[in-house]
């Protein structure tokens, strides 16, 4: 059995447990297991850059979520699910699954890169000329910071804006209740 299928089944089981469990701490740990599984998958797919980022962000999120979870009184989810909503979501998931199976038949096998089958793909240019054009030995870095640096700039802008927004909402002054206006 291929290693990818073992990892995929592990990740799917972790995701289902994370949704279905009533204990919030178990859900956090299952999400973390899902992250580690996807990190291992990236590693086996020969993408160490994204694998390092995934595992580091996952560890940080795990620490923060566990700290946020165990310091609250409400660690159990209660309440029943609505019947109508469950039926609608199951039907939508089934339709997307059937359409996705059609799409997946046209894709190459899992774990084989698509640019090996298309000789004139854009990635071939990056692999051939990346070292000469940018001087960076790491092709991924030469793509994200030289060929496709606009993407990184947009990403940095989104990151900057979201952090500024979070800082504005969480600052000391915003936490206090507004004083009653004198009438």
């Amino acid at each position: 059995m291929n290693i990818f299928y073992i990892l995929l089944i592990f990740m799917i089981i972790a995701a289902i447990i994370a949704i279905e469990t009533k204990n919030l701490l178990s859900a956090v740990i299952c999400i973390s297991a899902l992250g580690f599984g996807s990190s291992l998958t990236f590693l086996f797919l020969r993408a160490p850059d994204i694998s390092i980022t995934q595992i580091v962000v996952d560890v940080l999120a795990l620490v923060i979520l566990i700290r946020a979870t165990i310091s609250r009184d409400l660690t159990f989810i209660s309440g029943d699910k609505e019947f109508f909503g469950t039926v609608v979501s199951v039907v939508i998931i089934f339709v997307i699954f059937v359409m996705g199976m059609k799409v997946f038949e046209t894709l190459p096998d899992f774990g084989t890169a698509i640019f090996t089958q298309v000789p004139e793909a854009a990635s071939q240019t990056y692999i051939k000329n990346g070292l000469k054009d940018t001087g960076a030995a790491n092709v991924v870095t030469s793509v994200i910071l030289d060929y496709r640096a606009y993407d990184t700039l947009g990403e940095a802008t989104v990151f900057f804006t979201s952090i500024i927004g979070a800082t504005v909402l969480l600052r000391e002054k915003a936490r206090k209740l507004p004083e009653e206006p004198e009438l």
């Binding site: 160490p48 850059d49 694998s51 390092i52 980022t53 580091v56 962000v57 560890v59 940080l60 620490v63 923060i64 700290r67 946020a68 609250r72 070292l131 054009d133 940018t134 001087g135 960076a136 030995a137 790491n138 991924v140 870095t141 030469s142 994200i144 910071l145 030289d146 640096a149 606009y150 990184t152 700039l153 940095a156 990151f159 900057f160 952090i163 979070a166 800082t167 969480l170 600052r171 936490r175």
Partner: protein
């Protein structure tokens, strides 16, 4: 004393140096080995999160005040934008890798190579590290009822 027990404090005070060093390594060698600005920045942020969990918020607040943290974050973002705009100085497109294309100093596979790419990595690492720690620090100060 605030924070955790003496065992956690001792071990985290040893480990924090290694985490910071590895983060700096990942940022500086981002153009040679896997990694880069984002991953290294998260390493730097996680070292401060470790200190915050082990020693308490006040210790970190003394070491890295909130105003300094916000300044580091903004300096990182500004540095990245400045590197992008510097391409205009040479009448070339935005994000032109002028250090490699015009001057071509440093050899490939060495630390000093690849023109503006290491500088961009440093800027992104500074921004991401400061920003993530800033948000986590602000979130951790939330208490129920305040």
């Amino acid at each position: 004393m605030k924070g955790m027990t003496i065992i956690v404090k001792t071990i985290s005070s040893w480990v924090k140096v290694l985490i910071v060093l590895f983060g700096i390594y990942v940022i500086l060698f981002g153009h040679l080995t896997p990694g880069g600005g984002f991953a290294g920045g998260v390493f730097l942020a996680s070292s401060y999160v470790l200190l915050m969990l082990a020693f308490g918020r006040e210790f970190v607040q003394e070491n890295l005040p909130l105003t300094v943290n916000i300044k580091l974050f903004c300096i990182g973002a500004l540095l990245f934008a400045t590197i992008a705009f510097l391409g205009f100085l040479f009448r070339e497109p935005f994000f032109f890798n002028f250090l490699h294309q015009k001057y071509d100093f440093g050899e490939a596979f060495n630390l000093i190579s690849a023109g503006t790419i290491p500088l961009s990595n440093i800027a992104i690492g500074l921004m991401v590290g400061a920003a993530l720690f800033l948000v986590i620090f602000l979130l951790s100060s939330f208490r129920r009822g305040t």
